[in-house]
Amino acid sequence: MHRTAFAFLVALAVALVTLSFSAAAPARQARTYHRIISLSPTITEDLFKIGAGDRVIAVDQDSSYPASAPRTNLSGYTPNVESIAGYHPDLVLISYNPQGFAGKLRDLGIKVVMEPAAQDLTQAYSEIYGLGQLTGHQITAASVVHWMKRRMTEIVASVPPLRRHLRVYHELDQTYYSATSNTFIGSIYKRFGFTNIADGPGQAAHTQYPQLSNEYIVAANPQIIVLADTKCCGQNAATVAARPGWGGIRAVVRHRVVGVSDDIASRWGPRIVVFAKAVAAIAKPH
């Protein structure tokens, strides 16, 4: 008797789920896009992560990840309206709108959606949700965001509370440009509770990306150095240690200099989890 009732309930549940999906399908189909162009490396990563990669017909020249993305010569920085329109897209996704080129695409009847550079994780999550809606992948988008939130919490928790006040120097290039806590990448350090040495100079110079003075970095004596200029500029722990005057910096002495991929550190997509993991690893006690 119990078995029959259980089978009946399972059948009912399956029927309900099938019904709801088939009812929702036509409505969702009407709003989704099938010929998508992404002119932002982060949006490209988001689209492929939520399973919408098969709808992407072209991505810009800087969209280096994933390898299966259809990379073209299109540029997100100096976009050419004619060459974009030549792909006959029904949706163009951008995170930068130089000289109002989005308006020109809209004049051609092409839908353009702007997902600007995120300031923090909350904005990054909402952009992934948005892309899920545009492509009919709400459920996978939600699960990607859920996974990111869970991983971020775990990674931050993996660093002992006593080590959450370390002074960090985030290097954007070998001329000592850095990022303050008001940037996306800075917001990750903030989650850990680290003190960002770029904050003071950034505030003084009214910029989120100050160029730090060599003397200031040595005097600030950071306990962690994160190099986001490994790919562009070939920097690593050894090149940092070899810089005149840097040999005595705490991070160098204690071997807490870590190189991360420039791409991952400059995007606000799902791979930020990989970045956070690398930062956590360098902050933990040896």
């Binding site: 100079p201 060599n214 003397e215 200031y216 005149p244």
Partner: protein, 355 residues
Amino acid sequence: MAVAAKRIETAPRVEARGVSLRAGLVAAAFLLVALVVGLAVGVTDIGLGAIFRSALSYVPGVHVHQSLSATDHTIVWQLRAPRVALAALVGGMLAIAGASYQGVFRNPLCDPYLLGVAGGAGLGATLAIIYASTSGTTWTVPLASFGGAIAAVAVTYALGRSVGAAHMTGALVLAGVTMATFTAAVQTFIQQRHPDRLQTIYSWLLGGFNLSTWHDVGLCAPYIALSAVVLFLHRRVLDVLSVGDDEAASLGINVARARLTIVVAATLGTAAAVSVSGLIAFVGIIVPHLIRLLVSTSYRAVIPLSFLAGAGFLVLADVAARTLFSGAEEPIGVITAFLGAPFFAVVLRTSRSMR
């Protein structure tokens, strides 16, 4: 040559005074003060007395206890001192190169970048920053910009020379403008393909001493020394050239050779300076004109005093660049241009009286 020099001294239109002892002492004192300020002022508070004792401890035979902590010692001698030394060398060089160009081309608005040095160096540096920054050493960018500067000026000179000696002065300036435009176009084309490197490229173009090391000082010092000595030895010739080619020729000067020597020396020094500091604007205009206004229009005064004053000026500009925004660097080119542009306007208005 001795006869020629004697004739030059008696040339009727060159009446301006040479360098007086007082002016020389004032310029030297200005440079000394600038050097001390450069060493003592920074984002870190380090006492002047401690720095002085630390400096004395390096003098052989003097036994002084130096009280600087290891970090402060590093900051003063490995970070600040090379900055100060390099800023002094570059400032002095740009000032005398600007002065020399102004004399040779008889144009008060000439700057050291006149013949395409800036464009060529910018192109060389951009290429190195984009294509060789992962494989290259710390010397790659300086060498590339030095090579670019020399190549650009060589092409300018060949172009200018092709019109014949009679119109060469004007042709050289036009060829320089052409070269600057062309190299800027190529440089912009390349940098637009690499938007991720824009910040580094602009940072180089605007110039600065944030990354200066003793290596850089060693790299450019021989060229700057050679160039400065040659220009110093030609200070009287410059006086005559600034009057006119015919007058100079009538006094027994081989005008073409003298001009080539001065241009080559000024260019070599400028290229060396640019290769380690980027493009620092207006030093070559502000400083020589200040000397002309305050002391004398004779190159016997302008060349040595410009070197001292240019060195001091750039050291102080660099102090501003690294301390204005406590910890954040301001490109030094922004500071010199901010001071220089209004000055340039004044010079432009009064240029007739300054020739």
